[in-house]
Chain length 245, copies 2
């Protein structure tokens, strides 16, 4: 394991840039859990750690100062990795999650974690959505990012792709929408979620098959990560099996 002592080392500086500008080709992951998940799926390129690790890719022995420089956490675990992923591969599953300008990296990561839990293996982020490779998004995804098929497309390309591949799109909206409870999703479909403040773009909502709302009272909206979790869980495990709902 090569030892690095200077924060100005070329490899450290290269990795530090990824804190704000990670891409599919190289992005930062923090902590033992994520580095191990990346290594297991062959996505780990190299890593920095304060002690020897069992991974076969290049590893650099560093001090806590360099770990802190490469981490977005206040109290980081003593390991940071750089990983890569393939994005924009063909749609693979029956359920697609479409994200329209989700801004908060924590919400994005939470949605990816729920997408994996509920069998939405394909995720399309429209332009304007927070980067998949934001360190906070990856952290909140708890590693789900390594098991999903991630796409990033323009609105026009995404809608064309879903149409061409035969995925009806269900939007989420508070206006002119059917209640979720009792709704029956087909076997193959895409579910759309929109921006934290503004919801889904009108231009998309006009092209959906049906728009859906979650019943609630006392307050007029849910956190988008919570809304997405309720919708995906419903589609995966409930899905209007009771016609009396």
């Amino acid at each position: 394991m090569e030892k690095i002592t200077s924060k100005d080392n070329k490899k450290v500086k290269e990795a530090a840039k990824l804190l704000s500008k990670g891409t599919a080709d190289s992005f930062l992951i923090e902590g033992h859990h994520l580095v191990e998940m990346a290594a297991q799926s062959g996505k780990l390129l190299y890593y920095f750690a304060t002690a020897e690790q069992p991974y076969s890719v290049p590893g650099y022995l560093v001090g806590e100062d360099i770990i802190k420089k490469l981490s977005s956490s206040v109290h980081p675990e003593p390991i940071v990795g750089v990983a890569k992923l393939s994005i924009n591969r063909p749609l693979q599953g029956k359920r697609v999650l479409l994200l329209d300008r989700i801004q908060d990296p924590g919400n994005l990561g939470t949605l990816l974690r729920s997408a994996l839990s509920f069998g939405f293996y394909d995720v399309i982020a429209l332009e304007g959505t927070c980067s998949y490779f934001n360190p906070k998004a990856i952290q909140s995804s708890q590693g789900a990012i390594f098991s999903l098929n991630l796409l990033r497309l323009s609105e026009a390309d995404a809608l064309a792709l879903l149409k061409e591949r035969g995925y009806p799109l269900f939007g989420t909206s508070l206006d002119r929408a059917s209640p979720l409870e009792g709704f029956v999703f087909p076997d193959k479909f895409a579910l759309g979620l929109g921006n934290e403040g503004k919801g889904m773009a009108k231009s998309i909502l006009e092209q959906t098959d049906t728009n859906i709302k979650i019943s609630m009272a006392g307050i007029d909206s849910l956190n988008v990560g919570v809304a997405g979790g309720i919708l995906m869980h419903y589609a995966a495990y409930l899905n209007g099996k009771d016609k009396n709902l």
Copy 2:
């Protein structure tokens, strides 16, 4: 409206302390939406703003530097208020949310927002749970904090109160738990959610009526805010109406 220009003004310093140590008697709220909700419910004590506001409580005219000093946001709205709330009042509703050492203020706030949406008007935070009055928790609650009945109790006191008042407690756990789908909650009950990393304390899980788990695959846990949303929505609007689930 009294004008304050110095960051060292006594009133400013008094409010700044609440950024880390808000209590039920005085806590900070940021932005027009929250300040208005506090004012409407008679919970606003005073406020700082860069322009005149329509509230009847004392207001202080300040510059952006003072707003920034009193805010936990990078780009704060030009108004910050100080509010108060009564806590530990008697249980009022039929559904109680019990929070066992939820650590992240964003998760706490999101859970409060969902609790209001799904009619869980009484929330009990056990000791070890993040403060209700953490500015990030209040922000994530989107003002739900002003419409809920909030309690903070020891584990022993909370369990005794629920028993005495006749609320059966349903815990959440991955082990020895019944699947949520098809479960029928009674009319009156308490739902427990646990710490992000460790789940609910064993000592509580042993005293619950039944423990419940959300069905999922591919990953072994959900974000606690998402799990809480799915459970509360289910109890409020689905609740095993289909006996075939």
